[in-house]
């Protein structure tokens, strides 16, 4: 039996039951019974407006679940309806992209001094895209044609030859560091730079370098001055 056919979620307005989309009705009933019983006296005496989503129910099924909730939970079930707010939210999202962009400016990832970090082991090859909401460390090379993006800092423990985008949701304080910094294109926040045309594309300079932005200009310098 699928024990995850039903998930409970407490909301400001009461309780939302998330039903697994492809779960059979018997599974839902059984899973619901287990969940209610394991909650023990938690619901007893409460007044709940219950909503459900994730799967449509017909009239009979809805009635049966409603009765089950009344009988087993011990709570006073005020209502039992399908939750429509989720769908509405999804509909309004694309139209408000512009507003989201504005919000983004103030809510970009700030954990560049200390924050969540992803470690990627291996070579990132052409056509591969690594994105992460946080800092990103690649233990390997990044080849031309590959794209690595992170909302925080990016450190490559190898040769960086692909496209790199640090602070991808707007943080211009983010940095890019690599043991060999030869990116096709380097982006920090909304600043986009590329290497000069006269330089050969297949660089093999293995000098540990660090790129950062000051006053909307990109600077690259060694981070181990003695080497």
């Amino acid at each position: 039996m699928d024990e995850n056919a039903v998930t409970f979620k407490g909301t400001v307005n009461g309780l939302t039951i998330i039903l697994k989309q492809d779960a059979g009705f018997d599974d839902i009933v059984n899973s619901l019974l287990i969940k209610i019983n394991s909650a023990g006296k938690f619901f007893r005496g409460a007044k709940l407006a219950v909503k459900y989503r994730g799967r449509t129910l017909n009239q009979e099924e809805r009635y049966e679940l409603h009765e089950l909730l009344k009988k087993e939970s011990g709570a006073q079930i005020l209502s039992f309806d399908e939750d429509m707010t989720e769908n509405k939210l999804a509909e309004t999202k694309p139209s408000s992209t512009e507003r989201n962009n504005q919000i983004k400016k103030y809510t970009y990832f700030k954990g560049i001094e200390e924050g969540t970090t992803k470690f990627y082991r291996g070579t990132v090859r052409s056509g591969q895209l690594i994105t992460f909401d946080g800092n990103l460390v690649v233990l390997g090379d990044v080849n031309p044609g590959a794209v690595i993006e992170a909302t925080g800092n990016i450190v490559v423990m190898g040769l960086l030859r692909g496209v790199v985008h640090a602070g991808s949701n707007g943080n211009k304080d983010a940095i890019v560091a690599a043991l060999g910094l030869n990116p096709t294109q380097l982006r920090i926040g909304d600043i986009i730079t590329r290497s000069p045309d006269d330089e050969k594309g297949i660089g093999t300079n293995l000098i540990p370098e660090l790129a950062y932005v000051r006053e909307d200009k990109l600077f690259v310098e060694r981070f181990l001055p003695q080497r």
């Binding site: 056509g127 044609g145 794209v147 496209v163 590329r194 045309d197």
Partner: protein, 266 residues
């Protein structure tokens, strides 16, 4: 209204991308306004051959998905005015674009450019269907190899099935010495099989490798034989009547010496 030409071949590695870059640059040299569209999503090369890889911010998939406007994705060539590249996406695959979206995109570009050159991926699947969707004309590239000619024949059939009549044939990487020895198919052999009009014959040329790696199309090199061949192709595309270059007479010094000394040269 611009003319839309798809460069295709069926087989990989016969020189579609090189041809696209050279024809596009040749047209720009002649003062025409041209845009090159790379439809090889996931295995893009045209940007590298053109030396424009590091300028890519938006790509074909971004345009059809509405992430950006067409003009934002067009990359201006670093040498010639009037030459633009619309690069393919590298981190996606062919199914990211549909033929209908390609037609819409091309219609949008038609009013702006004299020529729209589409670089087709190898194969006859989704990528091929996308590439030929909006095209008015086709150039089929082949090399003098049985396998390449076989694939070219298949492509000619598919183009005709998709209402693209009278495709033109471009024979690439011809080696005159090998043809003479009978080790390579001759131009006539290939035309006998495919039975379509010839638009150009490009000799095998070391300089192509050099120029491809440098990101500078060979058509700009006056000394390159292949460059000359591509210049002729662009002239023919613009309606000029240029005879097919006689490769045998261009053998150079050795040929002249042999002639001088009375050796048989044919």
């Amino acid at each position: 209204m611009g003319e839309v030409i798809v460069i295709t071949s069926g087989k990989g590695g016969v020189g579609k991308t090189t041809t696209t870059a050279n024809i596009g640059t040749g047209l720009a040299l002649a003062g025409r306004k041209a845009v090159l569209i790379d439809t090889d999503i996931g295995l893009r090369n045209l940007d590298v051959v053109m030396g424009l890889e590091n300028r890519i911010v938006y790509d074909l998939v971004d345009v059809v998905d509405g992430v950006c406007r067409v003009k934002q994705a067009l990359i201006k060539d670093k040498r010639y005015d009037g030459l633009y590249l619309l690069p393919a996406a590298q981190t996606r695959d062919k199914s990211a674009v549909t033929p209908e979206q390609m037609i819409n995109l091309i219609n949008e570009l038609k009013s702006e450019f004299d020529y729209i050159i589409i670089d087709c991926p190898a194969g006859i699947e989704q990528g091929f269907k996308n590439a030929i969707a909006g095209a008015d004309k086709a150039i089929v590239v082949t090399t003098p190899e049985v396998s390449a000619v076989r694939d070219a024949d298949r492509i000619v059939g598919l183009l005709e099935a998709n209402e693209l009549r009278n495709p033109k044939l471009l024979i690439n990487r011809v080696r005159v010495d090998m043809v003479k020895r009978g080790d390579m198919m001759s131009i006539d052999d290939i035309i006998d099989i495919l039975a379509i009009d010839l638009i150009g014959v490009v000799p095998d040329d070391e300089k192509i490798v050099i120029s491809t790696n440098r990101g500078e199309p060979a058509v700009t090199d006056d000394k390159s034989l292949a460059g000359q061949a591509y210049r002729n192709v662009t002239k023919r595309l613009q309606g000029e009547d240029v005879p097919i270059m006689n490769l045998e007479s261009e053998d150079g010094l050795i040929f002249k010496f042999k002639k001088l000394l009375g050796f048989k040269t044919t």
